[in-house]
Amino acid sequence: MKRTVTIIRTGPQALVQDLGRPGHAHLGVPPSGALDAHSLTLANRLVGNEEGAAGLELLLGGAEITTDVSCTVAVTGPQVQVWIDDRLADSHQPLHLPKASTLRIGTPDTGLRTYLAISGGVDVPAELGSRSTDLLSGIGPDPLRDNDVLPLGRPNVPTGADVVPPVRALQTLVIPIRLGPRDDWFEDAESQLRQGSWTVSDRSNRVGARLNGTKLNRRDGEIPSEGMITGAVQVPPDGQPVVFLNDHPTTGGYPVIGVVDRDHLRFLGQARPGTSVRFRPIS
């Protein structure tokens, strides 16, 4: 019989995420995958899963789950309170979840996305090699709803790390950015990026981190649609930059002033609206 997990409450948004489906951009398919992949892979290691196993990405925590078998779970991302059957437990380390008991995750004080790994991993059918929910194109499982039941894979014996540090959500992000491919659409792109300051908009989502602040002055017009990469900083005519995150469209017609290094995108994935952002251009 298949092991299952029941999502009693999803919290604000609960999605199945793994490391996504890169390599299909030529078909118009976004990469998708966990926005803070670092936290997901740590959670998987804590419960003995392969790093790329599917877990849950929980916007502002708030979820409650139960399983029909005993299993190992781990909650990572920002510091957050968790309870098993109303007894306080620890995040960022493996937890034994007895059969039919309930894991409840609080709301983190900082940061945006909490990750939950369950031994065996969430075993919904893969689409284009991934179980991730892509909110832009609707590939992968639907966003979870209260009382959804998900199948779990076969567990391994947990090994390796036994405790991991929480994500520290910063009030101000300083993000390295490499100029191009369309920095020639901007007069002195480097100075404009270096001297500007922005805050994360509440219209940000898995498609992109929208920034409000200094207007980036650019030429008028559009480019014939061209391929877009995760981390591309697109500048629409209003001059307010958008940093493409994992569910970004594969092509776009606004100039990309620069590209944020992949290693720094997870900090944007954890940045609450209002977080200050500055860019540090590197060549």
């Binding site: 030529h26 118009g28 284009l128 590939i139 992968g140 490499r178 391929g227 092509t251």
Partner: protein, 195 residues
């Protein structure tokens, strides 16, 4: 040809025509280590194996598209689109002639984008190369077949869209659960037939 840097591990190769895009794509498509290869109207985005990519591009002949693996796809169409009369009027021909022109041509998938499985097909007869609608529709039904500029396409799913719609197809253009999810891939040859 211009190579534009795109972060640490990607390049945007900018060329002058769709034919040159096809040449660049064909030259790079079997290169080991390439993680993404995304042709578009005047560019090819390539991620991974940049040293080898630069080597290949240093000697690529943009005037010649090498023969590459290419599939033949046939799409049955019922030509009863809401803009068929508008297209006929703009081309100064009868609606029947629009159907004949569209179904007689052979197309090639230049690139995909906009939505999963949405292929931009080139090969449209000149009289059918027409502008988008002045005001886009908020909802274009899945399977709609339309034209815009030098391209024709079939909508894999319902989305907003401004293309002039001349027909519809029942064929599945994109199914993420299928072994080959996208019916159309860059380089494929496509024909439309009257359903």
């Amino acid at each position: 040809m211009l190579l534009r840097r795109c972060g640490t591990d990607a390049l945007l190769v900018e060329v002058d025509s769709l034919a040159e895009v096809a040449a660049v794509r064909a030259a790079l498509q079997d290169l080991d280590g390439v993680e993404e290869l995304v042709p578009a109207a005047r560019t090819v985005l390539v991620k991974g194996a940049l040293a080898q990519v630069r080597d290949v591009l240093a000697t690529v002949d943009l005037t010649h598209v090498p023969e590459t693996r290419s599939r033949e796809v046939t799409i049955p169409v019922t030509y009863d689109g809401p803009d068929l009369d508008l297209v006929a009027e703009t081309a100064n021909v009868s609606p029947e002639e629009v159907v004949r022109l569209h179904a007689d041509a052979t197309y090639e998938v230049a690139f995909c984008g906009f939505a999963p499985g949405f292929g931009y097909l080139t090969g449209l007869p000149p009289s059918l190369q027409q502008p988008r609608l002045d005001s886009p529709r908020t909802k274009v039904p899945a399977g709609s077949v339309g034209i815009a500029g030098e391209f024709t396409a079939a909508y894999p799913r319902s989305t907003p869209g401004g293309w002039r719609l001349i027909g519809r197809t029942d064929i599945t253009l994109f199914d993420p659960k299928a072994e080959t999810p996208a019916l159309l891939q860059p380089g494929d040859r496509v024909r439309f037939v009257v359903a």
